[in-house]
Each structure stands twice: as structure tokens, then as C-alpha cells.
Symmetry: D2
Subunit: 335 residues, 4 copies
């Protein structure tokens, strides 16, 4: 197939590799011309095996390659906004992993650079491409449940991340709930105007010592009058729990977890069924592929990307408000 | 069967009649000796048909009958505490419909009278006897999910009550959510120490004009550190929605709605199944019978009633706090 | 309530007692005037406690009481047809437990007597009154799945009956599958014209020694062209398994088992839910009440009974053919 | 990635293309060196786009290429056995679409050629690789349900094939049920020794005129004593219906259909959920990939293929017996 897009991937950690493999195996018209990583040596074999010829230690080599017309920014969060600005100036279309940054000014600067350069920009909120959540959104948008009144999001991880990560991640509201804030906007079709957070340390005291909580219930008020609830836990004993419900004037939509199989085993001891798919790589495998497919389709066919810069900015805004609400014990208005 | 208990029923509206029929048809050792109602004439036929000989207009006739040893107070809410006091003084065992009162001092006076008289006292929180919720409680109590972290209660009515009722009911938090506050205590095994309420008028503007909300999301903080969420609506288009979920350190328990049948119809147009049972009379039919059965068993066998005076008091306390939180827009601490 | 029907119950074993309690507790206009049982002494206390004044050792005392206008025949199967004939001649309306008899001539004689006497006659196929199966029938009858093509009935007991019972019961096809043959006719709305049986002894060799099988798969051909499948086992480790499916030109209807609760427990070890309700008394509690309610309604209001004499005859015919098919290893045509 | 296997694909119809795309996109170490098709011109673009250089009209060009060490036979059924023999003689490893042939002698000749050549041989019973059915097999094999007693397979297509296809396909038992016969062997872990078929023309009279049936219920007796039931329809209004159940001495396993999403929409009109995935391409997408992955893994690593020549032969044997049983109206023993 003709390679119409030449791609550079910046950062080859878990998520960078995932995107690279999806592109290499499924998107015939995109050639991954180069990958960069701080530990270039470590990713060389993997890259070559995938047919990627150029492996750099410095991402500027990607940005300086005039043949490369799109980049995926999969490096550590603190570098996203800076690389976005540079890539935009270099005229590359940009797929940027979430979050763009934790600092609103830096996000705005990045979005401004994108705007000025006129390049495509998409943020990696992959859950928007999940078969279940897409269906919920579609049913809401087509009026099947009337006006949304209550949006409920359950989002629980199978296990907490390492404490070292907790210390630098920006906290649960910015590293984990941020996906749910995006989902709240996506499902409700409305903006969040106020947040109230109840948080607790119930999973691991070490998380509390690191200045974070591991259990949270967040109430959202939307511009359209609807009310949202997010409940989070860093550790669900039974695995990754990702469900949503939208209740409205004409009815409700509920989606449940995906499981490895639909097998139901009935014995003297009871009735048993599968636990949810283990974690995000399993649960969201298809959505990761869909989001990059749509990005390259937008690049190729000059369409609006499905997750814009504003979609990258807003969840950070809500996350910062959620954090403040937890710290003050009071609802926080979002302007 | 020997009629070991002589019962008087005070108030023969919908709930009084339901209790009377359950007792008459299912509890062989209880004789309903008398019923009183402000509109005695209107209930006479119903009572006679059920084999109840005495129908009074004034409940004092019941209290003055020395042969009657137990009463069920099913009159309007504003009379509950006063009749409780009089019945206690008359030495009758008391089953009192919820709520005891909206005024904390009046509740306390009623409970004091009960205490002094040494009579049995049970409050009509029937949902504690529902097969699903009992099972959840049992699994929590036996440690199946470890320590509770998040308690979620969905409670939505099929249609709002008449506006006239809304005006005098004390509002959604005291007439409807009060059941959910009881459920929160019942499922968590802990007391609520703080409440935050987000409310809205999304179902019917007339409810707003009457000074109430019709949609609410309430966050609860429990003494044991757990966090609770209640979501309410006065109108779920698909019917009565009554579900709970308890999530803890070792797992979660979820219960879904009861339906008239388990039939799943698959056609070209899709896959269809039953809506939930219509409303509380259908959904909680068995629990209404169980609660009165247990009350009379307690009376007969000198046991502690399963829903005590404190269980009647606490949900009112939480309800008043929830209301205050909605009015002030801030979390409210419960002492 | 006015006692418009005076009832005599013949046979106070498990099923006779169940019917008596349902009538006494729920059907206000029926008075159980007498009960007869070979072991009258043993049932006296139970009867008196239920308010039944007369307990006889000989059922003729019931038949000779001119005040009694209806009887329920709950004695052992070998007496059903004889008592039916006598009761009909005595002008009593008759509710007869299934099966009427295992001998076709005796069944015909009984039905003839009923016809001549012009009394109401209903056979105890209670599953027709089950909420799930009624719903399936209703959806089939109203054309929701078009013309029925395939009818599937799963019917498995939690444990085999005592070997002594197996020896005299007429075998699995006449004591157990007979309910499923009735269900096949009820759901398909058509008559069975051919039967093929595959049977095996897989649960307990003692059942084989007693001349019976404990596992069976029966193929039915219906007059309307549809094909039926029944699968039976005397022992399902997880309990009573009672499901049906009707597949037709426009779709399918499937019903699943009823469970004590809808609780789903998710832990590290998996996802657990309730086993089916234990056995027929639990699963069909409501249907037992409904069948007698409808019988007395038919008596009182001169309606056709919902399960006629022919409905009693046909399943025996199919059962005998199923047995013959198993014995010969060939399909058997039913005339 | 190093291309360790050079593959030729014979026949580029729907299934040949599917396999080619799976290999090209997912199995890095296999190079598709050539594809042959009677209509080579029509598949050229598709092949080139996928990176396949050689497109032949005559499959002998593939067999004559000494560099090619494996072939996938995806041509029309009547050519399978002949090409298998030639490919085996040419020393190629063989993946052959099902069925190998309808004629037992020709199948045996093909298997003999494979044996003599010592090449790998796998038959395309892809459903063995379905996540649900694999799980059932695994639970059966690990003894979770004890000894299998009853195996139930529901297999219904969304729509009948064109009448032209029905005329040459060998009939429903050989073109459609053959998958279910394989599944019966796979799930039971035992061989079928007797078959009884009830068939009917209920979907389309034209199918009857073509000498086939469109609705069938087939009873299987297994060597281990278990009994099997397959129910087939050429047209399920709600889509592709593929479910199995295995019931044994210690319990049962049931799997349900896969759906595009888990969304449940509840409105005033009822509760709606997704229909099953549309047809085999959607439902078995992953299993098609898995079967070829495992084939190449076996070729590369000298393992036994998971679906052997005998696994290709037996279902044809059962299919022919099922057909004979339908024609004679009697059970047919399989030797």
C-alpha cells in the first residue's frame, strides 16, 4: 500500500510502543519512519523488528526530518507541551498523549502554537473510541434518553501504580480521573461548571503519605443542569471496572464491563462468570487502534480531529478543581 | 390458629390497608381487632370483608381497648410522634410508619415515651427486608467484600407524586431519600457524618415552584471512612429503579432490579426484556410482609425489633442535613 | 368474606397441604370444609391450625357431604381416575393433580364421567401459571416471534427421587417429563405427532437397575411443522433448572431461571451469582397459588378451566410414546 | 521481521482474502509470496495492495515454487482433496478450508497423501479458536463440570445462502451443521456413535424444492454415554445465534452470543440491548486470526496442528449420517 503519511513517534514506552504496533500492523498508508526515545538503545530491536529504520535518542531529529509530516507524542507528561510547540512550529500534525500538561498556561501556549501552525492536533483520550462508550454517546446524541439528568461513571483500577509514580503523577485526579472528566464531557455533551470531591485513603496508607487519595467520589454540575458522579478506586480486587450510566428524561443507558468470555459456570458452589478484562491494554485494545486510525484519517482527508485541543484542556481544568475541592472540603466553581 | 396478639391499625390509607391484608392473610397468630380512620365510613366494607369487626373514627378507641396489645401507626406523618407517645403510655407495642416525624425534638420525645413504657417499637423501613438488599447486607456483614469503601444507591420513582403532596411532604430528602439514607446505614454498617447535596429541577418546574427539587445526587461520608452516593429522580421513564452497589477492599456486590419475568425477546428490531416491577407495592410486596412478620415475632418472643427507634431518628437527621446542604450549596456535618 | 365455595381436599401430602394453605390464606371466598387422608391422625393438627374443622380418613365422607361443591384430588396417582369418576358423579367440581392416570382407558373413563356430570375439571399443570412461561406463551400467541419453528425445554431436577419412588412412578417420562410435554403443547400451541427419545443412565446406576433412565433428550415433531427438544436430568448439581426457548420466523424468546436474589459478588476469585431457586416449591410457589385461584374463579363464574381434561390426557399419551421410543430406539408416531 | 515461512494462498474468495489479510497484518514471520485464483485479474489490486507480488491463475504455479513451504487451500470445496494431494506431494505444509471433501474415499486419499509426505495439515474449523467455546472446552477438560451428560449447540444463521449455493453445497448438514459436528466432538471430548435428525422446511419453500431442509434438530449419542443436541436454522431474524451449553455430573457451562456493545437502553417502551454480532466474519474475527497463527506456529516449531486430518474427516462422517437419518426418518449408527 502507498505510504502517504510518514510518521515519527516520540517516546517508546508502553503507550508509544502500543501506538507504533497498531500503526505498523493495521494502517497501511502510514509509514513509521522514525522513533525517538531517551533510551534509544533499549528500543532498537523492538523498532527494527517492526520495520522502523531510524531510532533516535533526540526527538529533534524527528522534528528536523522534512519528510515526516506527523508525530505522536508519547514521552513523559512534563515534555508534552514543549514538544507540541516545537512540532507545531516544524509543521507536523500532532497526536499528543493525555494530558497535554498540568499547567494551564503551558497548555494554552501549546494550543496557541498548534493554531498558528494550522496543523492537526488530537489528544489521546482513547476511551471515546471504546465500543461501549461510543454507543452510549450515540444513544444520548440521538435523543434516545431525552435530556441527560444524571451521568454516572465508575472507574476503578485493578491495582495502584507504584508510589514513585503517585508522587509525580499530579495525583489521582490528574492521572486517573482525567479520563473520567473527559468521559463526562463526552457523554453529557455539556461543560462542567462545578465540582465537589470526597476523597479518602482506604487502599494504601503510603498513597496518603505521598499526598494523594486512593478512593474518590466526585460530583459534577453541568452547564445544561445535569449532575454527574464519578467514583474511583485505585484497587478493585476483581479487576478493571469501567462502567457508565446516563439517565435522562426519557430513560437510561447502562454499559457493563467487557469480559474475556461469556461463559457461566454453574456448580453446587454457585454460579461463576468471568472477571472484567484485566486492565486498560486489554479492555481498550480496540479503542487504541481506532483513535490512531481516526487521527490519520483526519490528517489525510483534512478533517477535524475527534478529540481537539480544548478537549485536552478542559479535563485538566476540572482535575485541578477536583483537587482543590478535596483540599478545601468545599465545592469549586469552574469558570 | 390461636390469636395470641390483638392488633389495632391506626390509619387505613394505602399502606395501612396493605399491612392489614398481609397480617390477615399471612400471620395466623395475630387478630386485627380494630382499625381506625378519619374516614371510617369509607373503609368499613374493606375492613369487614377482611374480617375486622371494629372500625373506629377515633384512634383513641383503639388505645383504650385493654385487649389490644399492639398497634400499627399508618396515619399521616404529622400524627406519628403524638400517637406513638399515647400508644406507648397505653402500653401497646408499636409499629410506626416512617418517618417518625420531621422534627427531631418530637422524635426524641416519642422515643423517650417508648423507652419509658418498655414497649416494642419498629419503624417501617421495609426495604431492609427486600431479598436483594438483605443479601447485600449479609455479604457485607460476613466480610465477603472486606471493608466497605464506596456505597452506591440508585433510587428513582416511576412518576412524581401530586404537587399537593410535594408541598407538605417535607421535600424529596425527607419523603423519598429517607429510605436511601436508611439503606446507606443498613448496608455500610456505619453512621453518616457528613452530607453534600447537588439538586436540580429537571423533571417538572412545578416541583421547583413548590420549593423542592426532583433530581438529586447526595454524597455521604461515613464514620468508618467509606463514601456513599445516592442518586434520585422523581421520574424514571422506564419505571421504579432500585439498585445498590457496595464496593470494598476485597470486591463488590451489585444488585439489579426485579422484573415481572426473565423473558428476552430477540427480533429483527433488537433484543427486548422486561422493565422493572412497576412501583414499590410490586417491588417490595414481600418485604412489606416480612417486616410485619418480624415485628410480631419480636412482640411474641420478646426480641429486639430489627428497625429500632434510633434507626427511625437517624435518617431524618441525615435528610435535614441533605436539605440544608442543598440550600447552602455546601457540605454539612452531622453530629 | 362470604364463603361462596365449600371445598374438600382429598389427600394431605405435600401437594395437598400446599394447596390447602394457598386456599386458606389467599382465596377468601373458598372455605375448606373438610380434608381426608389415609393417615387422618397425622394431619389433624395441621388442619385445625389452618381452621379446617373436619378431618376424615375416608374421602367418601367428603363426596357424601352435599354442602361441599368442589374437591381437590391430591391423593396418590393410582387413585386419581377412580376418585374423579366418583366425585363427578357426586356433582363436585374437580381439581385433579397430574397425571390423571397412566392408563389411557382409565383417563378416558374419568373424562367421560366429568363430561356427563357437567362439572368443572382442571388438571394440576401448575407451570402454565409461572410468570416466565406465561410470558413466553403470551409473546408466542401474540405473534411476536411469528410461526414457531423450534421449541426448547430444559428441565432438570436438583436431585433424583428415592429409588422406591422411581420404581412406582411410571418412569422419568411419566413422572417428570410429563410437565415438559404439557409445556411443549402450551408453548407451541400445537399437538405433538411424533417422538424420538435418547436416554441414558448417567446419574445413578440404581435408577438403571430400577428400569428407568436419569438423563434424556427428547425430540418432538409438532402438527404445525415445528420441532421440539426437551432435555432432562434427574440431578443438576447447581439446582433446579427450568428454562425454555421458542424460536420462530420472526425471532426468539428465552427465559432463564429465577434466583433468590440478583446479587452479583465480584472478588479476586471471580464473579459469583445466585444458584436457581432450590426446587419446585420455591420456583413455582406463585404458580401453585395462581392455578387454584383460577380454578375457583372458573367454578364461581362458570368459565372454562385453563387446563382441561384433554390437557391432562395428551401429555400421558406423549409420555407413553417417549417411553416406547426409548425402549425401541426408534421414533414413535402419536395418533 | 524475518520472513521464515513463504506462503502461497490458493483461492482468493471471501475466506482466502480474510486469511491473507490476517497473515499480512498480524503474522510477521510469514511472507505471502503468491496467491492463485481462477479470476486472477479480479484479485490483482487487492493482492498488490496487501504487498503480495505474485498473482497466478493456476495454483500449480504455487505448488511448483520450491521456495514456498506452506499453502492455504481456500478454493471451492470440490477441489480441496485434489489440491491437498498435490500439495502434499510437493512437500508443502497445508492449511485446508473445511470440509476436505464430501466423499469419504477422497478424504482418506488426501489424508493418506498428507501422512506419506509428512507435512503439517490443519482443517479450517475456526470456531475451536473462539474465546467462548475455548473457555467451555477448557472448563470441561479441567473437570469443572465432571463427566459431560448433555451437550447443546445452537447454531442459526442470519439469512439463508442463495438457492444456487444450496443446490451444490451438499446440504445444510454438510455445509452448515458440519461446524457444529466439529464443535460437538471438541466440547464433549468424545466421538459420535449415533445420529437422529428431525428436519423441516420452515424458512423458505425454495430450499425444500432444492432438496434441502432449513430447520433441523439433531440428536447425537457419544461414545462416552453423553447425549448431544444441535439445533439449526437458516434464518434467525435477530442475527447470528451461536451458543453452546455443556451439562455434566458436577454442573453446567453456558456461553451466550457476543454483541457489538453491552449497552442496555431502558425507556418507557421497555429495555433494549444489542443483537448478536451480525455474522461469522464479525463473530469469529479473532478466531480466524488465531487458527492461522497456530497453524504457522506448528509449522515453524514442529508441533501437532490443533485440528488434524481426522478432525476434518469425522464431521463429514457425522454429516452424511445426519442426512441419511433425515431421509430415512430413523436413527443412524456411525461406525
Amino acid at each position: 500500500m502507498e505510504k502517504k503519511i510518514k510518521l515519527g513517534i516520540i517516546g517508546a514506552g508502553r503507550i508509544g510502543k502500543l501506538h507504533a504496533e497498531n500503526v505498523a500492523n493495521h494502517i497501511g498508508y502510514v509509514e513509521i519512519k522514525a522513533v525517538s526515545d531517551l533510551y534509544a538503545d533499549k528500543v532498537k530491536d523492538w523498532a527494527n523488528n517492526l520495520g522502523i529504520q531510524n531510532v533516535y535518542g533526540d526527538y529533534h531529529q524527528i522534528l528536523n526530518d522534512p519528510e515526516i509530516n506527523a508525530v505522536m507524542i508519547c514521552s513523559s507528561t512534563d515534555t508534552h507541551s514543549q514538544i507540541t510547540i516545537e512540532a507545531a512550529k516544524a509543521g507536523k500534525h500532532i497526536f499528543c498523549e493525555k494530558p497535554i500538561d498540568y499547567d494551564l498556561d503551558r497548555i494554552k501556549a501549546a494550543l496557541q502554537a498548534v493554531k498558528e501552525a494550522g496543523v492537526k492536533f488530537q489528544v489521546g483520550f482513547n476511551r471515546r473510541f471504546d465500543h461501549n462508550f461510543k454507543k452510549v454517546r450515540e444513544l444520548v446524541q440521538t435523543g434516545k434518553i431525552g435530556d441527560p439528568h444524571i451521568i454516572k461513571i465508575t472507574s476503578r483500577d485493578p491495582a495502584p501504580p507504584p508510589i514513585e509514580y503517585v508522587k509525580v503523577s499530579g495525583g489521582i485526579f490528574l492521572d486517573m480521573t482525567i479520563h473520567d472528566f473527559d468521559m463526562a464531557r463526552y457523554l453529557s455533551g455539556s461543560e462542567v461548571v462545578e465540582v465537589y470531591t470526597a476523597g479518602a485513603v482506604l487502599v494504601d496508607p503510603a498513597i496518603g503519605k505521598a499526598g494523594d487519595v486512593d478512593t474518590a467520589v466526585i460530583t459534577l454540575k453541568f452547564k445544561n443542569g445535569a449532575i454527574g458522579i464519578i467514583d474511583n478506586s485505585r484497587r478493585a480486587a476483581y479487576g478493571y471496572d469501567q462502567r457508565v450510566e446516563v439517565f435522562g428524561s426519557k430513560g437510561s443507558i447502562v454499559v457493563s464491563n467487557d469480559t474475556p468470555s461469556s461463559a457461566v459456570l454453574s456448580t453446587e458452589d454457585g454460579v461463576f462468570s468471568d472477571k472484567p478484562k484485566y486492565f486498560f491494554l486489554e479492555r481498550y485494545a480496540d479503542s487504541f487502534l481506532d483513535e490512531v486510525s481516526q487521527f490519520f484519517d483526519c490528517v489525510l482527508n483534512h478533517k477535524e480531529t475527534p478529540v481537539s485541543g480544548i478537549d485536552g484542556l478542559k479535563p485538566v481544568l476540572i482535575g485541578l478543581a477536583a483537587k482543590k475541592s478535596y483540599e478545601t472540603g468545599k465545592p469549586v466553581v469552574i469558570e
